[in-house]
């Protein structure tokens, strides 16, 4: 192989590496489609955290939605709390926003907007951009209200509280 050919090969390889880098930068923003979720529908929940799953790819917060009076959580026929899940970015990015096992311990009252799964499972993708509000400890909002109305609540992420759009448009 002569030198010119070698140079061409090196240039080609470098171009391939750069192209791969650019291709990988885009998936960092959205590494898969949101076809699983009904993006037309937005559900806004105020609930009590039962568990955080700090998954590397998509952190999940499991929670029991509160009833309209905000005095208790919604319960099934067996009297047990109904549990929903909201998932978002990976645990490291979520931690940078202030969402982690440590900052959302069981019992935390918070408000979040989500696009629910099309499958009907009680889970959805966090509305992003959209704020998550954390109520002060053991201080739920007044009936029909969310954590953004409670004095001393903490805002996580930018933007407004997602407004519920319960039916698909």
């Amino acid at each position: 192989m002569n030198t010119t050919m070698q140079r061409k090969l090196v240039k080609g390889a470098a171009a391939a590496v750069i192209a791969a880098g650019i291709a990988m930068a885009a998936p960092a923003i959205a590494h898969h489609s949101f076809a699983l979720y009904n993006m037309e529908q937005t559900l806004t929940f105020t609930g009590v955290v039962t568990r955080v799953n700090p998954d590397a790819n998509h952190l999940q917060i499991f929670f029991a939605p509160m009833n309209d009076e905000r005095k208790n959580v919604q319960r099934g026929e067996d009297g047990k709390p109904l549990v929903w899940a909201v998932e978002m970015t990976g645990s490291a990015q979520a931690a940078a926003d202030g969402i982690s096992v440590g900052t959302f311990p069981p019992g935390t009252i918070f408000t979040v907007g989500m696009h629910p799964l099309r499958s009907g499972e009680k889970a959805g993708a966090r509305v992003n951009p959209g704020a998550i509000y954390k109520c002060p400890e053991k201080k739920p909002p007044a009936a029909g209200k969310h954590c953004d109305s409670v004095d001393g609540s903490v805002t996580i992420g930018g933007g407004q509280l997602p407004v519920a759009a319960p039916t698909a448009r």
Partner: protein
């Protein structure tokens, strides 16, 4: 249960916290784990193909295995350390994951296969070391090794896509639901 509290302690440890909260940690550790696994499988495959009498047949088996297994063990150590770090980050979830459990079983099977080969079949190696085709027991060990390690790799990839949702409220969680 004792195991559960052990998993909780592991998940609460500083390295686990670093794995969960550093944006760089997971890509670096996972990338290293993949490279280590590739080295483990690549070097073991060379030894297994020699056992099957398919490659390197002009070289003595022990020469091939002595050269390769040093790399295998080094890479395996690296894979254990990086794998443990990834496990610690979310120990409870991985422990309950079926693909993860099957992967550990496949790993155990690969280890047992290797131990039996080392302590039984390899004792008589002097008689067949330079033979192009090793005896049946050695060939079986080579074939099983390839199958077990392939299982480890495929099951490992499976873990990432089978985490789903676990809606159960943990038994030990004392959560106040009434206000």
């Amino acid at each position: 249960m004792e195991l559960m509290s052990l998993l909780q302690d592991l998940q609460a440890s500083a390295p686990a916290e670093w794995m969960r909260t550093s944006v760089k940690a997971m890509p670096l550790v996972e990338g290293t784990h993949v490279l280590a696994a590739a080295t483990v499988f690549g070097t073991i495959l060379i030894v297994d193909l020699r056992l099957l009498g398919l490659r390197d047949v002009r070289r003595a088996f022990t020469r091939v295995s002595d050269e390769m297994l040093r790399l295998t063990w080094g890479a395996f150590g690296l894979a254990v350390v990086t794998g443990a770090l990834m496990f610690a980050a979310n120990a409870g979830t991985y422990y309950g994951n079926t693909a993860f459990r099957l992967k550990m079983l496949a790993l155990l099977a690969a280890g047992l296969n290797m131990a039996i080969f080392q302590h039984r079949t390899l004792r008589g190696v002097a008689a067949w070391d330079v033979n192009a085709t090793p005896p049946r027991a050695a060939r079986v060990a080579g074939l099983l090794s390839i199958l077990f390690w392939l299982s480890v790799i495929f099951l490992a990839r499976w873990i990432g896509f089978t985490k789903g949702y676990d809606f159960a409220v943990p038994d030990d969680a004392e959560i106040n639901f009434q206000f």
